[in-house]
Symmetry: C4
Subunit: 267 residues, 4 copies
């Protein structure tokens, strides 16, 4: 019995064996199908025409996910730890709404929670060769997180001041009915999204908006600059992954023969 449990553990939680890989790919396909289902169900015309097909597919997927959920609980060493882990909760929320739908009629809002199934994908992707490249991007973003926070704080301050000024300059009749609306407009403008649902109508407002847009030019350059500088640093001079066996120093130069810190030969 224990051997079957161990084998199942390897299949479901690891990806080293051939069956483990097949399991992961199948799960990936089912997750994508389940998401497609949620998305398609929200389209009125499709929901009307293919009602029974969607309903049946939903129950098939719920059955598979439920089985998988119970299997995971049965196999894992510490079931409680799994149930209350991030992925455990996501797994549970992926099947809950379908069962709730049986009890309460028309629980529309609950149905959309199923979109959280998407997050299940990240567990599978962990095991995948794309991870290394993704890790570089994430490391670049993490290394520059303080710079980006400072930048976002500065942008937030600017956006509040700009929004307040525009609220005063344009006033309610041109769509700037409150300061929050002005701030919304300022964000739409500074990020160069520019919906046009609110746009300045007075000459003074348009002049001021022009200044804001020109400033936005220099501003949009900053996050790009931060991330690029970080990525350039990470992807250019690759420091060796060696660790000095004597003093544990890291970040040696690629061509280093001796440790820069204690002088011992590296090996």
């Amino acid at each position: 019995m224990s051997t079957i449990k161990e084998e199942l553990y390897e299949i479901i939680f690891e990806a080293d064996t051939k069956i483990g890989k097949i399991f992961d790919v199948s799960l990936l396909v089912i997750i994508i199908l389940s998401i497609l289902l949620v998305v398609l169900e929200s389209v009125p015309s499709i929901e009307r025409d293919y009602h029974s097909l969607l309903k049946i597919s939903e129950w098939v997927i719920t059955a598979i996910f439920s089985l998988e959920y119970l299997l995971r609980i049965g196999i894992v060493k510490k079931p409680k730890a799994y149930i209350f882990s991030f992925y455990g909760i996501i797994d549970f929320l992926s099947i809950l709404p379908s069962y709730l739908g049986l009890i309460m009629a028309g629980a529309h809002g609950f149905m959309v929670i199923r979109a959280l199934r998407l997050l299940r994908i990240f567990r599978i992707l962990k095991l995948n060769r794309y991870t290394k490249e993704g890790a570089i991007i994430i490391r670049a973003l993490r290394d520059s997180r303080i710079k980006i926070s400072v930048f976002l704080f500065a942008v937030l301050t600017m956006v509040i001041i700009i929004g307040t000024i525009m609220y005063l300059v344009e006033g309610g009749e041109n769509g700037f009915t409150s300061i929050p609306r002005g701030i919304y407009w300022a964000i739409v403008t500074l990020t160069t999204v520019g919906y046009g649902d609110i746009s300045p109508a007075t000459s003074l407002g348009q002049f001021f908006a022009s200044v804001v847009m020109i400033i936005g030019y220099a501003i949009i350059a900053v996050p790009t600059g931060i991330v690029t500088a970080e990525l350039t640093k990470l992807s250019s001079k690759p420091t060796s992954t060696q660790v000095c066996s004597n003093c544990m120093a890291e970040d040696h130069l690629e061509n280093a023969v001796y440790c820069y810190k204690c002088g011992k030969k590296l090996n």
Copy 2:
């Protein structure tokens, strides 16, 4: 006969001889004219006023392309390989719609297939001095294709989650009639295109949209950073890996013959 065939081959498929170059430039001009024709034909007022001129030009160009197509089949060593190659199919699709128009009346949709003629340009450009620079751009994009795929996958996930939330928050009366529409809005916003055909109308929706736009700020920096880091790496003057045997100096210029530090000859 064989020599004429060989000569024609050199003119049509190569660009080393003078006549070969003239052939290429002429073909380039005719291709551009043929594209212009397709574009202009789609404008109702031009189509009405210059109907016969456009029709005649179309048949002249079709005649030239047909002749060229037959010549290529006749000259090439393996006609079958050519016919079913990428460019062979493009060449065939460039002339097919005009002939089909004779048989079936008003085959409007087919006519636009002629726009594929544009792809013929790339064959000629292969031979051109701009290729080297283009190759650097393509290499930078190819080298960063895994990073970009990871990034696009992350964006796709975000866009589905954001679209679902906005569908719940705003609802159908503000244009968010289904999750696909919400996803469409999320893409329009995150890419800072911002048409404004769908835009949030509720306070909560506008607040959430602001958060999305601010996130989009950091996100748009990522592909730029990836491509820039790659281009910087490719275009930064590569210093030679030589070390002077006399003074151990490194970082010599690629074309260095003598050591910049001690003046000894490098080997």
Copy 3:
């Protein structure tokens, strides 16, 4: 007495002591609350429903700020210098509108001046660990200020010429009622904001707009390039300028004690 004054000075103006830090954080929270108050007051529905709550909060915050203002004047060595300093004026303008509201009824415009309270945040942030990273961004922007000025001047020139041409091409019936409007449109387009409140309607105008947008492509790359190049320069790990006296190796890490190449101690 003098010791109390000195202690208070340390609490209010410095952030080295524990109480000093508590003071700073409390002030930060109050400033953010006071800003939130100004923002919420501008929303008609909130102002109507929570009128008295907002009024009371306003007076509590005004009282705290007034006390703090008087304390600062009493404690500081040169009161006059403080009062007429940048932050002294901001501090004064943060409380003035509330008192003016007592004398003059409905001084709406004055009320919004309170949004200047936001600037007070920067004094507190001076003392904060995020400053170093912010300083790098600011230094990058300052180092590239001449390049950015030249760029902005070039953009301004382009925008005037483009705006004038569009005024001539499109004319008043399509929204281009004057050259300033044309310039406003040119800025909206070149910065890729694209509200759509004014957009070309004639074929010639749309063709010209397309050219402007394509040019804008290359142009938006310039400020990003400037800031990125500067940030890359500033953030690239500066290798030490030391040379090993034994083997002449260069490019040692900043913190290197031993030569990475021959293992001798650096000096």
Copy 4:
């Protein structure tokens, strides 16, 4: 007489003397004023209210520019070369419309030609300390001009194909009345301007537009990457400006003591 002419030449054409600098700054101010005049005249309400003031200012400026134009012709060594030079023609076009207005009534279109006065600014700026930084930007753009051309050509091809597909998918009832319109929409979308004057209304069109926008993400990164890589190269590793006196080799390393090409000592 000749000395006066020489002195005037130094004042008007050079900027080394004190009077020469005063002349340049005054001219700069007048040019900016003259541009402001053209811009303000185009605003209907201002033209109505300040008609006489604008008219008088126009004639004062025309008088100054005419005098300056005649002076330049009188002073310069080769008057003909000046008259038919780029700046000579600009100078002439700056004053022509005002005189033409005397002969032909209501020559509105001609009046706007005066906006070309703006180009006169560049002559003065030549002499200015901002030029060096501007030169770096221009050099970066010039060095990357082939890469940018290749990129623009690729964008143009994409835009034609995308525009044709959208014309087929959406059709005339949704604003895509012809292929040129489709191309216009494709440019508006790919450059992330997004006016929203034409936007896809069908599901297929919106799906396709989403793909285009996601592609646009990777595409907008390319010109930025090109210009940034170039600017980084120009602004980082500064190669020495030394030239080897023996073999004329350039681009030596900053710390080079011996020529890398012929081995002679640099000095």
